[in-house]
Symmetry: C2
DNA sequence: GTATGTGAATAGATTCACAGCT
DNA sequence: AGCTGTGAATCTATTCACATAC
């Protein structure tokens, strides 16, 4: 479920403020979702609370972190060190979330060899070695769209388990690879779509009412 | 619907290759979704095809672009010019998608005044002016989590219609503002969750089978 | 024959509502 | 009394299947 990381963030904040017990309603409020939803999610994780009281914050943090990758950090390798790749490689949130950036590769010889955040960019044809050395299980595609499928194939061949694709292109991967798409321009276009629809609705209301 | 931008990308590629008619099956394949889904989406847009033949590519492109904001470009303002903000402000995909970056603001005086991609970073307390001058309708939050809610409030006050939040924090906005959350670390955590679950399932299968 | 358009069926997620525990 | 845990109801999205049109 996509809500677990949000719960985790809220819980960590609570723990830091010295709170040690939380009700489903409070947690739901913190995460911006329904309380029943929170209870369903937590009971699915076998993270039980005590009736009349609530859930124990530190216990929940443990259970959720466990579910989110078993506490083991999963190093990531970034393919494509353009503007976006550079930003991602320096993004603190990854390390904090248990995803240290362990490898950077690029196809452009002009970029290969540069140091970014203490790591040297290596040629894309050494991807398999980089993955093997660092034990990466997650790959990030930050290449131009045209190279995205190639990058996905190379990551698959290198033995990666999951791929996060930032390129605005549909890529196909084998069944056993977990693929997620994050398309920044698409996100904006969805907002634009809503804006436009709201405009149209207002116009329609004006015409009929 | 979140699929329209994906269709649009595929259609543009088709148009560039000289294809002028496409079936729902082909388009579905290109976008990685079900064919019936494509037909439902398109019929909702009143973008009709001809039975036995398919849809006309250029007509579809027109209809979808229209739905995605009426063809009008919506300038965006970015709040928070750290690593991520800088990368976003230089990200070509925004301009291509009809979302030119029209304003950059930051709270840090050390950052204010710098030029990024031809634009000068302005102080965050001039946000309302920046929005008014450039006619921005979309705001991007790329601040640290702690400042995200404040940024959202300021964008709301400045008259923004939609907000794209990159900060890993839940922010609350008035009903009439359209908010989308893009959390990079969360995306990775979801991948980690799937990896971990697959591991557990395999272990369980081993135990029972 | 081929491909759309759409009602019906299915699956999935969310929310309600309340019994049961502390 | 307060809060969890969960069956039932509801809403939404996806998929199927086929009548309809070219």
């Amino acid at each position: 479920m996509a809500r677990l990381p949000v719960y985790l963030r809220g819980l960590i904040e609570l723990a830091e403020s010295g709170v040690d017990t939380v009700s489903s309603v409070e947690l739901a409020d913190l995460a911006g979702v329904n309380a029943a939803n929170v209870r369903k999610d937590l009971s699915f994780l076998h993270a039980h609370g005590t009736r009349g009281v609530g859930y124990q914050v530190d216990h929940l943090i443990g259970e959720i972190s466990l579910a989110l990758g078993g506490g083991e950090p999963s190093p990531v390798v970034i393919v494509g060190i353009g503007n976006l790749g550079r930003a991602l490689s320096r993004y603190d949130g990854f390390v904090a979330g248990g995803f240290p950036v362990a490898g950077l590769v690029d196809a452009d010889p002009a970029v290969v060899g540069k140091r970014i955040g203490g790591r040297v960019v290596r040629p894309v044809d050494q991807l398999a070695e980089v993955v093997a050395e660092s034990g990466c299980t997650v790959g990030i595609i930050a290449t131009p769209s045209a190279s995205a499928q190639e990058a996905a194939d190379q990551l698959t061949a290198a033995g990666i388990l999951s791929i996060l694709n930032f390129a605005p292109a549909v890529v196909h991967v084998p069944e056993h690879i977990d693929l997620r798409q994050v398309d920044l321009a698409t996100e904006l276009q969805i907002l634009g779509y809503h804006q436009h629809r709201r405009l149209l609705e207002r116009a329609a209301a004006l015409a009929t009412g």
